[in-house]
């Protein structure tokens, strides 16, 4: 079984030879390590993700980054430059298409051709593997700020090789966060191995004095995920990455909607990740946090979406996140036009600058929520470590198997899916069904009581219907889901 142990160099290099053969673009000379290292060393500081993050955190700034990617290279470059110039983006992404994410490079090739013919993107992202290092370097060279690959790829080994060799100084993903929400039947053992490889690659460059950033995907399914669950996954992925030599990690969190819970979550995400990294012996890892603006279903209305986006930027800034992944007013409809994408960015930007001098005041509620998160994360981390007999890699696999770790609404068969979240009366995400999540009785009672309080207020039972109502709620303009009958009335009212 896979262990949380750094891959020995020779093993890594041997593996690498195979990986590069997965698709013709893997055989590019630019993937020669010496060539790649020279290329990466020449990346100026202001285009290096890791360094820009360090600077921003030191200055207490919150920077912004969109999602964006299209099938055709020139259009992709144009899109990115537009988002930098018209959107005031601080970081650029290249969101990878869904065929590439499933390693279906042939499908992607087909869709590129179709897109060229029809002169519009038929892909939901940029097929980086098909364009290879050469294409990706074109992207890197055409823009003036750091670029990152954002995807959802269980096996991103070839993709990671290509993008880093092309000067892309950050890579999103992780063995858990790019499996459970993004796959159906791939084992965690496999994806952890795949991502150990991706991390080892970053560690390899680190040994050569090249600092690259890695970002576990925080929001998971984006659907009512309790902060302690996503924090635990983020911390474990940070530990797995650190073991492979990664030195610059951004842990993420998806806006839940209750301001107090969001701020407690962001602050504890930073402190807990730092704490546990050090506790487990990874002393020299630089940690930043990223807030993902609302990751669930968006309202159809664009003006309402702008408000939701603004609220996300607000909690990110007050919660001290170093980065925000922004949404656009087209979110509920489809991949945004570049104009709509830039609108989401500019709204976010001004929120970060307007609020940069302000802090969320210390208060009892914040402390209570933070303490709860800390306690729950501790429970989940140690349960994972215990079942893994001291090893986090092994622990994660078994923890999911036994449902000690469980992510709501995930497609993966590796996930028990017994946990059910719902919101309490103030809109905090709580847990309705624990499945096998190993919380102590006190904690469970806290969640239960919170939901009972809401149920009483709404004059109904605590039940799965609450969860469903909560899933729909934000797209209907509420945070706490109204009982279906009421919402129907509401819908007609609008």
């Amino acid at each position: 079984m896979v262990k949380n142990k750094k891959i020995p160099l020779d093993e890594f290099l041997k593996k690498r030879e195979q990986i590069l053969m997965h698709w013709p673009t893997g055989s590019s000379e630019l993937l020669d390590f010496e060539t790649a290292k020279a290329y990466l060393k020449a990346v100026p500081d202001e285009k290096n993700f890791a360094k820009v993050l360090r600077k921003a955190k030191a200055e207490g700034k919150t920077l912004i980054q969109p999602r964006a990617g299209v099938a055709l290279l020139d259009a992709h470059i144009e899109l990115l430059n537009f988002l930098h110039k018209e959107g005031r983006a601080d970081f650029l992404p290249s969101t990878i298409d869904s065929y590439t994410r499933q390693n279906r490079y042939a499908n992607a090739e087909d869709a590129i051709k179709q897109s060229e013919k029809q002169k519009r993107s038929l892909l939901n992202g940029f097929p980086a593997v098909n364009y290879g290092v050469e294409g990706c370097q074109k992207v890197f060279e055409a823009i003036n700020i750091p670029v990152q690959a954002r995807h959802g790829t269980p096996d991103a080994r070839l993709l990671s090789e290509i993008i880093h060799a092309a000067g892309w100084t950050s890579n999103e993903g992780g063995g858990i966060s790019y499996n459970i929400p993004y796959a159906k039947s791939i084992s965690l053992e496999d994806t952890i191995r795949y991502w150990q490889y991706c991390d080892r690659l970053v560690g390899y460059y680190a040994e050569a004095g090249i600092e690259l950033n890695r970002e576990p995907f925080g929001p998971l399914t984006g659907t009512l995920v309790p902060p302690s669950i996503s924090h635990t996954i983020a911390i474990i992925e940070a530990i797995l990455a650190a073991e492979q030599g990664v030195k610059n990690i951004t842990v993420g969190y998806g806006q839940c909607g209750n301001i107090n819970q969001d701020i407690a979550a962001l602050k504890t995400l930073d402190s807990l990740t730092n704490y546990y990294l050090k506790l487990f012996g990874y002393d020299d890892v630089f940690v930043t946090t990223v807030l993902h603006q609302w990751m669930g279903g968006f309202p159809k209305d664009e003006a309402a979406s702008m408000a939701l986006i603004s609220l996300g930027a607000m909690v990110a800034t007050l919660g001290g996140a170093t980065k925000i992944i922004t949404k656009s007013p087209h979110e509920s409809q489809g991949i945004p036009t570049k104009e709509a994408n830039a609108e989401g960015l500019r709204a976010s930007k001004i929120m970060t600058t307007l609020l940069k001098e302000q802090t969320y005041p210390k208060n009892d509620l914040l402390e209570q929520e933070s303490d709860l998160i800390k306690k729950e994360v501790k429970t989940l981390l140690y349960a994972t470590l215990n079942i893994g007999k001291g090893d986090f890699a092994e622990g994660v696999i078994k923890a999911f198997e036994h449902g000690l770790l469980d992510i709501p609404f995930a497609p993966s068969e590796m996930n028990q899916g017994k946990i059910l979240p719902a919101r309490d009366a103030e809109g905090n995400i709580r847990i309705l069904e624990f499945g096998n999540i190993p919380f102590d009785d006190e904690t469970k009672t806290f969640h239960k009581k919170a939901l009972e309080k809401r149920a009483k207020l709404e004059n109904r039972e605590v039940s799965f219907q609450m969860t469903i109502d909560d899933i729909y709620a934000v797209s209907r303009g509420d945070l706490v889901g109204k009982a279906l009958k009421q919402s129907k009335e509401l819908l007609h009212e609008n």
Binding site: S98, Q102, K184
Partner: protein, 133 residues
């Protein structure tokens, strides 16, 4: 009790809507065969044959729906499922497009009904019930 096949087509992993559709169809008394996410046309067709389903509800959220659904009606007919109603919904194309045009395109491809983003599944079920009886 009508049997219907539901699932999410292509390389698409959006699971939330799929789980809710299953739940709500069950509540409305359907016999639901859920093949889940990452399902191919073949998966849908095989499930429909095996369970003698009256309808197939294809979800596509991630934008590749247009590519993934090519020839689906023909493939159904070929498999002897010409009588099976074919529905599609979700965010079935890339980007915000005029829905009338999108609907036309998918209807030409042989889908009986085409649902826009954020469709209220309760309302769709009423139409589907009417179609099947």
């Amino acid at each position: 009790m009508h049997t219907v096949v539901i699932g999410v087509i292509g390389a698409d992993v959006h699971a939330v809507g799929n789980k809710i559709i299953e739940h709500v169809l069950n509540e409305h008394g359907f016999n639901v065969v859920n093949i889940g996410v990452l399902s191919s046309q073949e998966d849908f067709i095989n499930a429909a044959i095996e369970t003698n389903a009256k309808a197939i509800l294809v979800s596509s959220l991630y934008g590749h729906g247009e590519i993934d659904c090519r020839q689906m009606k023909d493939n159904c007919v070929e498999a002897g499922l010409s009588h099976v109603k074919l529905y599609v919904g979700g965010n079935i194309v890339v980007g915000k497009q005029d829905f009338k045009e999108v609907e036309d395109r998918f209807k030409k491809m042989g889908f009986d009904r085409v649902y826009p983003p954020g469709t209220n599944i309760e309302e769709a079920i009423e139409e589907i019930k009417a179609d099947l009886t």
